[in-house]
């Protein structure tokens, strides 16, 4: 589940962010404690706590004294907004670069995208 690349704490943070963005962890919902996360991922509890702290610092989680950690109100909306802003940089630019390397022109690329989204029955183009 966890790979060798990034520091583990940031991978834990990333997993939590993903859960919030997917709506799997709803706003106002209690999130697992660092000990629960440590047991689940088989990682050091201090590392799990560091991962949670990343989300607290970015305001996605809030600590409620004596009860635990909760997903902040508006967290999901902020995450999705942030992802939309970074969509071009993260997905479109690398794809265009690879297409260029392979000699796929812009029209063909656009068609490929249409086909792919059609196959998924998903987004309207």
């Amino acid at each position: 589940m966890l790979d060798d690349g990034a520091p583990i704490f940031s991978q834990v943070a990333e997993h939590l962010v993903q859960e919030i963005a997917d709506g799997a962890m709803a706003e106002e919902e209690r999130v697992p404690s660092s000990n629960e996360l440590a047991a689940y991922y088989r990682i050091n509890p201090a590392t799990a706590a560091k991962g949670i702290n990343v989300l607290i610092e970015s305001g996605l989680l809030e600590k409620r004294r004596g009860i635990g950690m909760f997903v902040a109100t508006g967290a999901r909306g902020r995450l999705l907004e942030d992802r939309r802003n970074r969509f071009t940089e993260r997905y479109v630019e690398p794809m265009v670069a690879e297409a260029d390397r392979l000699g796929i022109d812009a029209d063909t690329l656009a068609n490929l995208i249409r086909q792919a989204s059609h196959a998924k029955g998903g987004i309207k183009v």
Partner: protein, 298 residues
């Protein structure tokens, strides 16, 4: 704050063999620290000296601020589980009872549940246990002791993968509720990598790396690609290992790569692969054995 373990200038010489060579390190407060290295690197010697079971030739060892040597107050606050653990010739249950008298924080409840977890027959004489069962018994005692300093020296000879996972789970669960200082030595590095907060790598009796586990991950990267591109990328960086085949080159680069480096690697069509902790250990160890050669050629 007094360090849990404080070791300075520790040296241990056996006749013509230098097992520990000027080792200095400290562990403060609760953590799980991995003591990693090849066989014969000095891990066990270091553990035994910290546990007061062996003497240093030179240097200083303090546990909780006091020397562990023949110091009952200190020895009761720590437990050492050794690979070649020797037990008295009694039944399993009696060994646990004896341990309960030695360790003030002993948890009988945890001991019982661990016995069940590891399927250890409480009534069987210890001399009739298999190698794996002996290791499991060592682990049961090591965890149930809840000692402030828990030294686990290759605690799992003969344990299969399932039993080892059980050990990791129980260690984490009990550590989470009862934080303590755990020093774990193992050669199954990638298995325990994620459990560790800090990594100390020892080679030929010397500490060659001592860093937070998070800093070690991603601190060393394999760069792969065409020779010219790789050369351009690694120029000016410390490199550890170079291999070439035809027009392809693979170089191990030390130092964390930033976002700019990653983009540049992408432009140069290079593959970046972070080294696992196990590979870091291998490289760290081989570097040390190369050093003397460099000195003589200089």
């Amino acid at each position: 704050m007094t360090s849990t373990i404080s070791v300075a200038g520790l040296t241990r010489r056996y006749r013509d063999h230098l097992a520990l060579d000027d080792v200095t390190f400290a562990v403060d407060g609760p953590s799980i620290t991995g003591l990693l290295g090849r066989n014969g690197a000095g891990k066990s010697t270091l553990m035994r000296i910290v546990a007061g079971q062996e003497f240093a030739s030179a240097g200083r060892v303090l546990v909780g601020g006091a020397s562990p040597v023949e110091n009952d107050a200190v020895l009761r606050r720590m437990v050492l589980v050794r690979e070649d653990q020797a037990f008295p010739d009694v039944k399993v249950r009696d060994a646990l009872r004896a341990a309960s008298w030695c360790y003030p924080n002993w948890s009988a409840e945890l001991g019982e549940s661990l016995l069940a977890d590891f399927d250890l027959p409480a009534r069987r004489p210890i001399k009739r246990l298999s190698r794996g069962m002996l290791s499991a018994l060592g682990i049961v005692i090591g965890l149930a002791a809840r000692a402030e300093l828990t030294l686990l020296d290759e605690p799992y000879a003969g344990l299969d993968a399932v039993a080892r996972e059980l050990f990791y789970d129980r260690l984490l669960a009990d550590y989470a509720e009862h934080p303590r200082t755990v020093l774990l030595s193992t050669h199954l590095i990638d298995e325990v990598a994620d459990l560790l907060e800090r990594v100390v790598i020892i080679d030929h009796g010397r500490i060659v790396l001592d860093a937070p586990a998070d800093d070690v991950r991603g601190s060393i990267t394999t760069v792969r690609g065409s020779v010219g591109a790789v050369e351009r990328f690694v120029a000016g960086r410390p490199t550890w290992d170079r291999r070439r085949i035809a027009s392809q080159e693979t170089v191990v680069v030390a130092g964390t790569l930033d976002q700019v480096d990653v983009l540049r690697a992408r432009e140069l069509d290079l593959t970046l692969e972070p080294l696992s902790l196990q590979q870091v250990m291998v490289h760290a160890a081989s570097r040390v054995s190369e050093e003397p050669k460099e000195r003589t050629s200089a």
